[in-house]
Amino acid sequence: MSANRIGAQHLVSRLMRESLIDKTVIAGTETAVRAILPSLNVIQIGGLSIMDRGQSAVQPLLDEIVANQQDHVQVVGVGAGVRARHVLSIGLDLGLPTGALASLAAKSSAQNAYMVSCLLAHSGFVYLEAPFIVQLLPAVLAAARGAVFNGIPPYDLWEHPPAVGKIPPHGGDAGSYLVGEVFGARTVILVKDVDGLYTADPKTHPDARFIPEIRTAELVGLRLPTLPIEPVVLELLSRAKLARSVRIVNGLVRGNLTRALAGDPVGTVIHA
């Protein structure tokens, strides 16, 4: 009997006997990725910034999505909002770990996404849970050019403990970005209640300048105390292979989403 017989039973492949942790092996896999759904536009509707404002903010935005349905394939991610903040606060007080907090918060954004899907149902949009995004998204898009999903990624109990504190780092912005990245989407648009990025908070600094376009590394270098998007998105962007930018637009201004879908300069674009 040869020594090989005692060892693992391998399938022949390029990675067959290699350690997938070996740096050289990993570097050897650096090849081109194809876009699976290159016409897709991912639109992330903010929880606190849009949803929690109710009809006055949500309805005009959804009308704009419907008006763009003929011209653009849109999947709509929806973020959590104040209910997630509330359940985080209770969960933290009870001593729950980050993974448990993440699974609780994801239910709040699921509620928001389900409400959005009900309001867009007349145009054929359906709410897809994560397993159905994996299996059914192309079919749904072929039928209706639109779908709604939970912005918070399905990390649940497996959410990363953050470097500081216990707040789950991957929220709706991160989840929507990752959907854009995996499908090689045409655009990732984060719809918020601010015009985009400023060099400082315009409410307290009248001399703050608007930033129409910036690179991830530059933005990290500015060390802004708060951002209108989740900081983890910058990390994800820095490792982008397909979705090499995100655009932040003010969803309270009519026409902004349409301009962003058309590729017109509106809001702030953050490049990888």
């Binding site: 070996d22 990993i26 104040v82 001593g95 500081v164 504190g165 995996v182 105390p225 708060t226």
Partner: protein
């Protein structure tokens, strides 16, 4: 900012959370001071290697299963499985086809799932069930009733897996998935069952001058900047910010008794620990 809640019901931190930005570093720091409960402090998470154990078939899996059975009434165990050679094959193929990380993660999960199913068939007669991530709320019941459950080791990230810094192999695989189960549950131990006596200064399969490391801090290990490691780098990164898991242990599943010794708290194999106390840096 909108007035959306009756603040009287909330803690001081709660008031800041509902009205402030979650990306505000001061709010994140304030959550450092909140308590931590261990959800299942008596459970041990054990990862059974894919390539290192499962792919060897009966000669390696049989003794590991016997050892698990012998420990059923002594220790509570969550058994996660690795993927292995079929994952390598499908990753190679998918990379060649130009498919993205998220799709590779979906494909790799299926392999870890196959291994979990096989392990479950071997343990079924002892009353051991297999749980999908969606069924994890039933964990306490199965553990109390039967002493162990089986799950597949991949985290349920599916298409939402993030890209690595370099290359196209999903960076967070079954080592990471099992680690995060231990972290979120506040487990007693995180034990990796592989086919080496632990960590070496180089891959002992390829380099005969490699020496064994019994105990090393995650900080020191990262500083060594080794070309290859016994564990996914994501685990080492996450260990630095983990609040519950303070050390992980690697044992050789091809040596009978090592898993039991580790479960009994003996320092067999290699232990990677987090130096300092609660230092998230």
């Amino acid at each position: 900012m909108l007035e959306l809640t009756d603040n009287a019901m909330l803690t001081e931190l709660g008031r800041r959370l509902v009205s402030g930005s979650l990306s505000d570093a001061a709010i994140q720091r304030a959550t450092e001071a909140t308590p931590d409960i261990a959800i299942l402090p008596w459970v041990n998470v054990i990862k059974i290697g894919g390539q290192s154990i499962m792919d060897r078939g009966r000669s390696a899996v049989g003794p590991v299963v016997d050892e698990i059975v012998a420990n059923l009434h002594r220790h509570k165990m969550i058994l996660g499985t690795g993927a292995g050679t079929r994952a390598r094959h499908v990753y190679s193929l998918a990379i060649d086809l130009g498919l993205p990380i998220g799709v590779l993660t979906v494909l790799g999960t299926a392999v870890a799932w196959q291994n979990a199913q096989m392990l479950q068939y071997l343990l079924a007669k002892h009353g051991i069930a297999f749980l999908e991530p969606e069924g994890f709320a039933s964990l306490p019941h199965y553990l109390m009733e039967r002493g162990a459950v089986i799950c597949q080791g991949m985290p349920p990230y599916k298409l939402w897996e993030a890209n690595p810094e370099v290359g196209r192999i999903p960076p967070q695989r079954t080592d990471t998935g099992c680690f995060l189960i231990a972290e979120v549950l506040g487990a007693r131990k995180m034990i990796y069952v592989k086919d080496e006596d632990g960590l070496f200064t180089a891959d002992p399969k390829k380099d005969s001058s490699a020496t064994h490391i019994r105990r090393i801090s995650v900080q020191d290990l990262l500083a060594l900047d080794l070309e290859d490691l016994i564990v996914e780098r994501a685990v080492l990164d996450l260990m630095r910010s983990a609040r519950n898991v303070k050390e992980i242990q690697f044992v050789n599943g091809l040596r009978s008794g090592q898993l039991t010794a580790a479960l009994d708290g003996e320092p067999v194999g290699t232990i990677i620990f987090k130096a300092g106390n609660g230092d998230g840096a």
